[in-house]
Subunit: 349 residues, 2 copies
DNA sequence: TTGTATGCGTTATCAA
DNA sequence: TTGATAACGCATACAA
């Protein structure tokens, strides 16, 4: 029983074939095997075939750790998602993965679940992996951890969030514009008393959408008090239901005729609460969401929503980080996409 | 200008500090630094502190590739998702990640999107990373690639699918039972003409749910023709809408009073199509889905669905693969969970 | 308690 | 065209 077989019997896991094994089987040196892998042109046809045959027979698989150790850097990116259960982020992730794959980079997907401690752990792991770059939708875009990582040499691009200054690449969507579009649409449809449902306002997104909303409201010359801010604890379906109850509890005089929700999850919760308590959407309450996730269009009353170019967001983020790693003259860029209103029955009737 | 600074100026990326750098800064040998990291008890308090200080000052981050190369194996798992846009799979993924993190393993998330070629690429990448184990919801559970990977020494656990024989670990849910539960529920509610919406039937899941459905139908002594099979191209919201149109197009005599959909996406699409064309759910058409994703409960008419223990599925899969890697006496196990009917308004009225 | 030396698998340099 | 060898960063066996 040879050494490999012994270790197999003991550990139950055969030691994978290395270039050395391939070399000895093909009767060549390791350098030649490496050349077959990396510069096949430098190798004669005959030896190349022998080496390739040996690789096939042994089931040779390149050891990425060793390559990476030797190269001093990896060939992989990572995306740290804020919330994997929100289809918005999975779409962004797919955009990133596609673009990375085209550049023959592999992508690690992680998610923080909005938990700063977990985020830190994930980032630490990724740094240990020496990933080329980290794409992240951070719990707190201002966090110092991000700068520390960059100071240690790992490139970072912020996704769907922004940061003051031009010291870091980011891709985001103009949330103020999105908020404006939503509220202008409601005003156009004749609504003069509107609720803004969203929170916590510590989230930049929520703040910006609210800012856009109130700006549109002011610009239309409507009384400030008639744009009612309903704060939520999270951007979830549950909280949307709660908001629905709160709206229902308002006196007829104070009750809004339309609600603009800071994301689609809230809107779906609100929609459900409204419909199941017998209110008609949009006649009794018009609803507009944000993100235009697939389920927005799939709702019983298809949801008007503000669409963000999700896939494109991901692709651009990947492009930016690849430029940052490859291009010595890289300039940091903050790409801001333009959202688009998708009007459906929940506001059109 | 020293070497590190030069490379920094040229590449824009500082070379990360290594154990050697830490050692020289702390005035000790690399062995001691390594001991501080791995067996701190063997090191005197004073030197330990000096080393730790040096690490902090240099921003030392362990190089996982080097550790892995040395150790001969990695400390990471991977889950290859079939469809990242289906909340069911993201929930499974979170279960896996949690369990892995508890065992201080990191998890790579990938997704094949149902594309066999892409799946192969992902698996190749993961093999190159020498991950300890691969959890996968395969495009084709019978595929030989899986066996090849295992033959080369990487452990594999199949998630939410099964395979003949006991040669591989798997976790799944009893889909036949799920199908039975759904149809029994509809029969209990008085339905005597029911549609089964799902496809393609090349998916084991779909087959099993259909099998359970027809078994329940037969067991109730109902005429075979009155359980109508409506095949779909995919398990998507779109296809659910199409199915809705097909149901609406049937003559009153042949039209089912209830539909059992092979997953919630189909059910949501069907629900929407029904509601927007003025049919009442469940009075005109009762609907039951499968998976009980969050959006099932959030639908305008909350959806009755067959719930699968998603998180638990993931946790168990992680447990199995950890056992397979750690325990020399590991026995392959096929864990089958029991689904549960969650009755809501879409069938109760 | 600490230091020295070796090897993991790969790639690149240099010599043959 | 091919072969021998050093180096990447870390962990360990062994020596001091």
């Amino acid at each position: 029983m040879n050494r490999a077989a012994m270790s197999r019997a003991k550990a139950g896991r055969p030691r994978p074939a290395s270039v050395k094994d391939v070399a000895s089987r093909a009767g060549v040196s390791v350098g030649t095997v490496s050349n077959v892998l990396n510069r096949p042109d430098r190798v004669s046809e005959a030896t190349r075939q022998r080496v390739e045959q040996a690789m096939a027979e042994l089931g040779f698989i390149r050891n990425e750790s060793a390559r990476q150790l030797r190269a001093g850097k990896s060939r992989s990116l990572a995306y740290v998602m804020l919330d994997a259960s929100n289809p918005f982020f999975t779409d962004v992730a797919m955009g990133i993965e596609d673009a990375a794959a085209r550049a023959s980079m592999s992508t690690f997907l992680c998610h923080s679940g909005g938990d700063a401690a977990r985020e830190r752990t994930q980032l630490q792991l990724l740094e240990q992996q020496r990933v080329q770059g980290i794409l992240i939708t951070p719990v707190d875009p201002g966090s110092a951890v991000i700068d520390e990582i960059r100071a240690r040499g790992t490139h970072v691009v912020i996704v769907d969030r922004t940061r003051q200054g031009d010291t870091i690449c980011s891709v985001s969507v103009d949330d103020e514009l999105g908020g404006r579009l939503a509220v202008e649409h409601l005003i156009d449809r004749g609504h003069r008393r509107v609720a803004f449902v969203g929170g916590p306002h510590s989230i930049g997104q929520v703040r910006d959408r609210w800012a856009g909303a109130s700006e549109a409201w002011r610009a239309a010359g409507l009384p400030e008090d008639d744009l009612v801010r309903l704060d939520t604890e999270r951007l979830s379906v549950d909280e949307g239901r709660v908001a629905g109850q709160r709206i229902a509890g308002l006196s007829t005089r104070r009750r809004p005729t339309a609600a603009f929700c800071a994301n689609d999850l809230l809107a779906l919760g609100l929609l459900q609460q409204a419909v199941t308590t017998g209110r008609r959407v949009p006649d009794d309450l018009a609803i507009i969401g944000y993100d235009d996730i697939e389920f927005a269009a799939a709702a019983a009353v298809p949801l008007t929503s503000v669409r963000q170019p999700r896939q494109q967001l991901g692709e651009t983020a990947a492009r930016l980080i690849l430029d940052e790693t490859d291009n010595p003259d890289h300039q940091h860029e903050s790409v801001v996409f333009t959202p688009e209103l998708v009007a459906r029955r929940s506001t059109l009737g």
